[in-house]
């Protein structure tokens, strides 16, 4: 039977839509062609159809942090290769490639920043670094983000974009879920706000640990968010998935997130939220 194939959701969009060299960009949503500067100036959001294209962590930092300023924490952490893992290419080589591609040492940046003048503890996954996967360094930095926020009584804003736990560090990656959630629980016990932003995509071990444990969960417009990847589910149930499955709006409909937000409105929304949440307590 030769039914025309429906386009599968692209889970590894970073590979396909990375803003390569060139003057023009093709919108992944409406296929309009536009000058690259126009798309970049609008933070990767298509002016015609509002399709959200992936943007690098540096752009998120510009978008979220006042004056684009981040006082980075634990910037010196580097991954190791505890399993001596190789899939044909050694893990250590994959890390080097990812560092070259992203210009960053690992798949997350954390630090102190200000959001509309309010000091916050800020973390941002780097999807361009091995799909934002969580190994020991990412788990450690998220844990330190929560611990530092607890010590300094800072609300946490964490931007997630991750395929999940990093296979190449095996079971140690899985343990990062427990480590980071335990730290988050200590933060929660002190009633310090945690705003969880689920960007495109947020799946696997990152989704199944802290991502849904925000006091407020904000999903980025159009983001793919879920526990299992769409292909895994299709292979399990042997059915095509319905349109819009695991997209941000689907999660909103099912009560898993508080709101779906355009990237362009996210900072202002979080500013408002923190005003409310911090007005009744000492935090922030």
């Amino acid at each position: 039977m030769a039914w025309p194939e429906k386009n599968l959701p692209t889970t590894d969009a970073s590979e396909k839509q990375s803003l390569g060299e060139g003057i023009f960009r093709l919108c992944g949503g409406c296929s309009v062609t536009m000058p690259a500067e126009e798309l970049d100036a609008n933070w990767g959001v298509c002016p015609s159809c509002s399709h959200h294209h992936l943007i690098p962590a540096a752009a998120w930092q510009q978008l979220f942090c006042d004056d684009g300023a981040l006082d980075e924490w634990a910037a010196d952490l580097r991954p190791q290769d505890p399993l001596k893992f190789s899939d044909g290419t050694p893990y250590t080589d994959r890390v080097k490639r990812a560092q070259k591609k992203s210009g960053l040492p690992e798949a997350i940046q954390i630090g102190g920043a200000k959001l509309h003048g309010r000091p916050i503890a800020y973390g941002s996954f780097v999807f361009q670094f091995m799909g934002g996967s969580m190994g020991s360094v990412v788990g450690e930095k998220i844990t330190r983000l929560f611990e530092r926020a607890l010590a300094d009584k800072l609300p946490v804003v964490l931007l997630q974009a991750s395929g999940g736990a990093r296979m190449q560090e095996g079971i140690l990656s899985l343990m990062q879920m427990a480590k980071s959630v335990a730290a988050l629980e200590r933060l929660r016990a002190q009633k310090i706000p945690f705003i969880s932003c689920l960007l495109h995509p947020t799946t696997g071990g990152v989704a199944a640990s802290f991502a849904f444990l925000g006091d407020v969960n904000i999903a980025e417009h159009g983001a793919l968010i879920g526990f299992a990847g769409p292909r895994v589910i299709e292979n399990t149930i042997r059915q095509k998935l319905p349109a819009g499955f695991q997209r941000a709006e689907f999660l909103l409909d099912h009560g898993m997130v508080d709101m779906v937000c355009s990237r362009l409105e996210m900072k202002d929304t979080i500013g408002q939220l923190l005003d409310h949440l911090c007005s009744g307590s000492d935090a922030g």
């Binding site: 505890p82 296979m167 079971i171 335990a182 640990s209």
Partner: protein, 316 residues
């Protein structure tokens, strides 16, 4: 019909002879010496053979259809078992069993994945793959244990949390994350044992404990070898290589600091002698529980925090 994996055959044949001889020895005491010798030889052959298994063969053993499951241990280790069901939100999930029981005279909360024996029970238990309701039931149990100051014993044995449409609609991710959080918070002793398959986040959701043990032929992995091979090489049949790369066998887990110790299994594996497997587990569990019972609630939560805080490797 007992399932016998190809590499088990020599062991199973010897064990059958031991059983026959043991029966004979009940009426004919002259075979006693022969029996003891055969038992000793069988144990040696079994240990020798199983020590040479490849990682994927150990994975197969961890999934063995005859392996004791959570309730096989609960029935042997506990008395006064009262099963508690339901997540209070949507449904009962039979892929996780939970309840209260007496263990060495002390009331404890039990939470474990439960696979089924045979097709009918496996469908009921979804092959030990929980939906969000299973994890929400587990969270409820951890909170109940915390509230009534009861120690918790968990038993891990799952291919993973179920990846399906309903599971996603009802928040599989949130359910797992919340179960991890509830375990992290609890101010009571928690002991987790991987008795078979420890499949990823669906296993970890019952695994945030003060002590984590693995049975000799249990495995614990961030992703199944099949899933890993499918992602890395687009070929699930390369699972044996993935199993080797992922370092998921009991000795690997001990070396990486994931488990506190490896609990030996009877000759040929736990499924050859569930009573002995339970007895050997009992020894470790009872001793650990006695140790942990000396700590107060805050110290228990801190110990658990620090245990997981230390996991991970990086340069700084």
């Amino acid at each position: 019909m007992p399932v016998v994996l190809p590499f088990e055959k020599p062991i199973v044949e010897l064990l059958d002879r031991v059983r026959d001889l043991r029966e004979l020895a009940q009426t004919d005491s002259s075979v006693q010496a022969e029996l003891e010798l055969l038992e000793q030889q069988t144990a040696e052959v079994a240990r020798e053979l199983l020590s040479q298994l490849t990682p994927i063969q150990k994975v197969q053993l961890s999934r063995h259809a005859a392996r004791p499951y959570t309730m096989d241990y609960v029935n042997r280790l506990c008395t006064d078992w009262v099963e508690l069901k339901g997540d209070r939100r949507f449904a009962e999930d039979e892929a996780i069993v939970s309840g209260v029981a007496k263990y060495h005279g002390q009331s404890v909360v039990i939470v474990g994945h439960q696979k089924g024996r045979g097709t009918k029970e496996n469908l009921l238990r979804n092959f030990g793959m929980p939906h969000p309701e299973g994890y929400r039931k587990a969270s409820r149990m951890f909170e109940l244990a915390d509230k009534f100051r009861l120690p918790v014993l968990t038993f891990i044995d799952t291919p993973g949390a179920y990846p399906g449409i309903g599971a996603e609609e009802r928040g599989q991710s949130e359910a797992i994350g919340s179960s991890i959080a509830a375990m992290a918070r609890a101010k009571v002793p928690i002991i987790a044992t991987i008795i078979g398959e420890g499949g990823s986040g669906g296993a970890l959701a019952l695994g945030v404990a003060n002590r984590v043990f693995v049975l000799e032929f249990g495995c614990y992995s961030v992703i199944s070898p099949e899933g890993c091979a499918a992602i890395l090489w687009k070929d699930g049949s390369l699972a044996p290589e993935a199993a080797t790369q992922l370092k998921i066998t009991a000795p690997d887990l001990l070396r990486l600091g994931i488990v506190d110790s490896v609990i030996p299994e009877p000759p040929g594996g736990a499924h050859q002698d569930a009573d002995l497997a339970a007895a050997q587990l009992d020894e470790v569990l009872s001793q650990s529980l006695a140790e942990l019972s000396l700590l107060d609630g805050d110290a228990l939560a801190d110990q658990r925090y620090n245990r997981f805080r230390a996991l991970g490797t990086f340069e700084s």
